[in-house]
């Protein structure tokens, strides 16, 4: 027991004594994720929206008077054009270069053609010329298109579906609570992110701590001391878990803090309120997950001859963990309750349930239990490996 503590203390002293290591494993991932997601979110917003007070500049050809009246409510500055083919190139070039945003071309006898329209003859076609590369032009195009659709509906309106602001005789049409919608989204996304963060946190330190000690010959110095191999294995797994957990927490904070920016203003994360017991359960599930992942990576590292080899050997495991963590995103309850017997996959399921406001305490605790048993088995394997001269000294 004392020896486990001595090993843990040494591993932590090694880690925290190295400022660069602390920065690259714990601080940088969270910071990078925060900056990246924030920038991505803002970039996406910029792409999709134009400034609120922008007034689009548009040409109109043969626009009927009643349309003109209604279109005056749009944020558009209209300029009439006679559609003279001689000016065609100039007008189109202006749109292409973004000086004008839109050209709306009505057929010559639009109103009459519309009235004469029946199933047999061709419907008159309104042409909209725009440039989707320019966000102002794209917005003007979208605006005009939906305006014209609306105009069409006013001409032939027989009935509406769910008209109004989303509420009918019996109240809101969509019964989902705001929290439910966000919960569904988070339960697909967050378990995957958490698993990935934990894995990358572990893979940053475990190869160095085990394969590295083998490579440098320092593990032999530990092996000639009377320390039990099991104490060595447990000490390594526990200390690496603490470090991996810190790295995971940092990444998690980075994600949570940048999420509102990533998702845009529509997503009000304030409606998402998990209870303290949800958070506690989440923490317990995460800790059990970290232990399993660290044990797996430790075994991989112990079987590798060098840090480089360990890092290479880890790739398939990374892919495996990623695969099982995207399963909840597919929506269906894969595997049912039996799937809680599978280590790591049960963590993903339990986390998805917690984030989706469907916390299942019993199944979450079953997952933790299964993961702890798996950790025990893996640590036994690691102990055997530390005791195996071919694994430790094999060239």
């Amino acid at each position: 027991m004392n020896n486990i503590m001595t090993i843990i203390k040494k591993e932590l002293a090694r880690f925290f004594g190295d400022r660069r290591l602390v920065f690259t494993t714990v601080i940088m991932p969270g910071l990078l994720i925060y900056l990246m997601y924030t920038l991505m979110g803002e970039g996406m917003m910029k792409q999709l929206t134009t400034a609120d007070d922008y007034v689009a500049k548009a040409y109109a050809v043969n626009m009927p008077e009643d349309v003109k009246m209604m279109a005056s409510s749009l944020r558009m500055e209209w300029e009439d054009w006679d559609g003279n083919p001689a000016d065609k190139e100039r007008v189109l070039k202006e749109i292409e270069e973004g000086e004008k945003d839109l050209l709306v071309y009505f057929p010559e006898n639009f109103t009459a053609d519309v009235e004469a329209y029946n199933m047999e003859n061709k419907a008159p076609n309104v042409e909209l010329y725009y440039n989707s590369e320019k966000s102002n032009s794209e917005t003007a195009y979208q605006m005009m298109q939906s305006f014209l659709k609306g105009y069409e509906e006013t001409m032939v309106n027989k009935y509406d579906v769910n008209a109004g602001m989303g509420e009918g005789v019996f109240g809101k049409y969509d019964m989902a609570s705001d929290a439910g919608i966000i919960g569904k989204m988070l339960s697909g996304l967050l378990p995957m992110l958490i698993m990935t963060f934990i894995f990358s946190g572990c893979s940053g330190v475990a190869p160095e701590s085990i394969a590295g000690e083998k490579e440098r010959g320092t593990i032999a110095t530990l092996l000639v001391t009377p320390v039990k191999r099991s104490a060595l294995a447990l000490g390594k797994v526990i200390s690496l878990s603490i470090i991996a957990l810190l790295a995971g927490v940092s990444s998690f904070l980075g994600t949570i803090l940048s999420l509102p920016k990533m998702m845009g203003d529509e997503v009000d994360l304030n409606v998402v309120s998990y209870s303290i017991s949800d958070y506690l359960l989440l923490l317990v599930v995460i800790i059990s997950t970290v232990l399993v992942i660290v044990s797996i990576i430790s075994i991989v590292s112990a079987s590798a001859k060098s840090v480089k080899e360990a890092t290479t050997m880890m790739a398939p495991f990374m892919i495996g963990v990623m695969l099982i963590s995207i399963l909840p995103m597919l929506g269906a309850d894969i595997g049912g309750k039996a799937a809680y017997a599978i280590p790591l996959f049960n963590s993903v399921k339990a986390m998805a349930a917690i984030f989706g406001f469907k916390t299942d305490l019993v199944m979450a605790l079953v997952s933790v239990g299964v993961n702890l048993v798996a950790t025990g088995l893996l640590v036994t394997v690691l102990t055997k490996m530390f005791d195996n001269e071919n694994v430790m000294f094999g060239k």
């Binding site: 090993i7 090694r14 440098r216 010959g217 530990l222 000639v224 001391t225 009377p226 039990k228 001269e389």
Partner: protein
């Protein structure tokens, strides 16, 4: 004299890879490194394993230190079996070889405390011992310098000191002066004699005749994994220099060296 170590029929084989077979120019898949080695060492004496490179000296010492397990045979060290009680054996010995490295990141001071902890040495005893050993080897001035920044000689001294944190009664030392500069080699040999004077038992392996002549009470000559002869230094030398006797014995057992 009280027996300290009984080595009984130790055998160790290594499996050769196809590449190693080619390198060694052999069709045999299994190389016998130590072939039924037996000897006895006594308390308070310095026992030397003498032999050419590849004779199996290091493999024997690694088995005694329980880093590797024998295929057959056993060794009883101060009542503990290397096969069935490896942890007990490890707590009784100090094992030193150039194969054991210290982490570059930590200072000698930290390393000493860490290994004292692993050997279960009480902190106040460890502090006193650290002071003595650091002074003796001149490590005190470098106690707070990371091992990675120390000179090769200083690193070796720190390794030596760290292997003795628990003041073991038995010191097993593989090629004690190999790779050391003349000054450090002298410090180490003097220290071994000092340990002997304090009643410690020492087992060394070497191919350096002068070292054996200087420090050993008894010698075992190992050739090709087998103990060829084992006796007191005087008995083996029989009045001649050890080097001459070694080649006489070698030619007697194996054949002419230049053949």
């Amino acid at each position: 004299m009280e027996e300290l170590l009984q080595v009984k029929g130790l055998r160790k084989t290594f499996t050769l890879s196809a590449k190693q077979q080619k390198l060694e120019n052999t069709k045999e898949k299994v190389k016998v490194a130590v072939d039924g080695l037996s000897f006895t060492a006594y308390k308070g004496e310095v026992f030397g394993l003498l032999g050419p490179n590849g004779a199996g000296k290091t493999t024997t010492l690694r088995m005694l230190a329980t880093l590797i397990k024998p295929d057959a045979g056993d060794a009883i060290l101060d009542g503990a079996s290397v096969v069935s009680q490896p942890e007990l054996v490890r707590s009784k010995i100090g094992f030193l070889t150039s194969e054991l490295k210290l982490e570059d990141f930590f200072t000698p001071n930290y390393q000493f405390d860490f290994f004292s902890g692993l050997y279960g040495v009480k902190p106040e005893v460890a502090a006193q011992r650290k002071k003595e050993l650091f002074e003796r080897f001149g490590i005190d001035k470098f106690a707070e310098v990371k091992v990675g920044n120390l000179s090769t000689g200083m690193k070796q001294k720190v390794s030596l000191v760290v292997s003795l944190v628990h003041d073991p009664d038995v010191v097993i030392f593989d090629e004690p002066t190999n790779g050391l500069d003349v000054l450090t080699a002298k410090v180490v040999t003097d220290f071994l004699l000092d340990l002997k004077a304090r009643g410690k038992s020492i087992i060394v392996s070497t191919h350096i005749f002068s070292l054996i002549e200087k420090i050993c009470d008894r010698v075992g000559i190992v050739i090709a994994g087998k103990m060829v002869t084992c006796d007191t230094l005087e008995a083996i030398c029989a009045g001649k220099p050890l080097e001459d006797r070694f080649f006489e014995i070698y030619e007697e057992k194996v054949g002419r060296i230049d053949e």
